[in-house]
């Protein structure tokens, strides 16, 4: 039975390499849920469904209200002085609730030595997320401007408590809360999404939570705009504001330009040019973002 797909951009991770090859031959035969291609977003860096850097209101996986779907992803970001590896999985229950996990590894590489941390020093962070769709349907409700709206929380735990404190951070764990609104404007072949996040996270939590400069929650914005060029291909841009809680280094907003391509109903790949600004005193962190995802 072919349960086609259509959802887009899913990707996965651990198995991405293998699946990528296998899926070419068999995806058409695999039952993969019922969402329309590219209507489910991709996996965001923090694990849930979203753009690349931004979180969206859509629920991960290819399933509709009639089933349970999911998505796995592996992401690699390579900027001037650092690399970031992330992998994760998300489950979408009846297109209503999303549960996600992600692990991020922020590798300072040669820069680690210059920072006095040692070459190849790596910050790791685990993220557990939950998202609840509260109203609207991003895809079907094309006769109203009301978007799909979801609320969510992400618990993040960093493994470098001592270093986090040494650079002025307050804690090695924290919880982000967000509300996200996403709309497919089919009429114009556009996908628009915005989110408001309450957070204390420094560099999404990779450098801890709270800081000597500011230790309170602040409201940050995440926005994405994408144009669908075909059933398989979307291009667009994202912007994400960030707090700047640490005295030792400024933290900048993030920007990316992306292309998301659905190779088949299961596997998709996202490639982006990212500008992450200044990270831990190293300026102009620009480079590539590649994410491979598998959705079911």
């Amino acid at each position: 039975m072919r349960r086609q797909l259509l959802k887009a951009l899913g990707l996965a991770a651990v198995v991405a390499g293998t699946l990528g090859c296998a899926a070419g031959a068999t995806a058409a035969e695999i039952e993969t849920g019922g969402k329309l291609l590219l209507t489910g977003g991709v996996s965001s860096l923090e694990g849930g469904a979203g753009g690349g850097l931004a979180t969206w209101a859509v629920i991960a996986g290819n399933e509709t209200n009639n089933g349970v779907g999911g998505k796995v992803h592996a992401t690699y970001v390579d900027v001037s002085d650092y690399t970031l590896r992330a992998a994760g999985a998300a489950v979408g229950l009846h297109d209503r609730i999303e549960l996600s996990v992600a692990r991020q590894e922020f590798d300072t590489g040669a820069t680690g030595a210059k920072l006095g941390l040692g070459k190849g020093f790596t910050f790791k962070q685990d993220i557990v997320g939950v998202k609840l769709r509260v109203l609207g349907d991003a895809v079907y409700e094309q006769d109203t401007w009301v978007p799909q709206v979801s609320i969510g929380a992400q618990y993040k735990k960093n493994n470098q408590d001592a270093i986090v404190r040494a650079i002025g951070g307050r804690k090695d764990s924290g919880v982000d809360y967000y509300v996200a609104a996403t709309k497919l404007v089919l009429d114009k072949s556009l996908v628009l999404s915005g989110a408001m996040r309450l957070t204390k996270a420094n560099q999404t939590g990779l450098l801890g939570f709270g800081g000597d400069k500011n230790d309170s929650y602040t409201a940050q914005f995440e926005g994405s705009a994408g144009l669908l060029l075909s059933k398989r291909l979307a291009v667009g841009a994202e912007y994400r504001t960030k707090p700047s809680n640490l005295g030792f280094a400024r933290e900048d907003d993030w920007v990316d330009l992306f292309a998301a391509y659905a190779i088949n109903k299961t596997v998709s790949v996202t490639a982006a040019y990212v500008d992450l600004g200044e990270i831990a005193t190293f300026k102009d962190q620009r480079g590539v973002y590649i994410s491979l995802q598998a959705g079911f």
Binding site: L6, G34, Q142, T144, S189
Partner: protein
């Protein structure tokens, strides 16, 4: 005049005999089955027509829509995901009314003579999966007709809200 009345009466008797009890029935187009009486109205199409006729032209007018509607139905009837739902369907009628509906909605100036979306899909038990399967088939039919992707999405934007009337579970 009297002659005319006589022949009309005769015709009515014959029609009655053929159509069984379908007294209130409009003439049934050739190849189609009669349906229970309903009030015909363009409002049954479930969406307001577009003002701009460029999209209609991108679909190659009514002829293009007739081909797209027929191909969508053929694909759906061959689609293992949803074919059972169409097992007892009056196929010529579905193809005709679907083409009328597309044409009306795209501002092509057709009248829609079919039934209302909620009424016609009632108790079919259509799911969102089924809905998306049908939309995929429509997309393939539009691809085959060579309709540009951006124009395709304008028709889909008109049809998508009908999910509320069509999908029951």
């Amino acid at each position: 005049m009297r002659h005319f009345t006589q022949s009309a009466a005769l015709a009515a008797v014959i029609a009655l005999g053929l159509a069984g009890s379908a007294l209130a029935q409009d003439a049934v187009p050739p190849g189609e089955q009669p349906v229970d009486p309903y009030v015909q109205s363009n409002a049954n199409a479930g969406a307001k027509p577009m003002d701009d006729t460029r999209v209609f032209e991108a679909f190659r007018g009514k002829d293009g829509l007739v081909r797209i509607a027929a191909d969508t139905v053929d694909r759906s009837m061959a689609d293992p995901r949803i074919k059972e739902i169409f097992a007892t369907t009056d196929v010529p009628r579905l193809k005709r009314t679907l083409a009328e509906q597309f044409c009306y909605v795209l501002g092509g100036g057709c009248a829609y003579s079919g039934r209302d979306m909620a009424a016609v899909h009632k108790d079919m038990g259509v799911t969102n999966r089924d809905m998306n399967a049908l939309i995929e088939n429509l997309q393939l039919a539009m691809d085959k007709e060579g309709v540009p992707f951006f124009a395709q999405n304008k028709l889909l934007a008109k049809l998508a809200p009908m999910q509320r009337s069509v999908v029951e579970r």
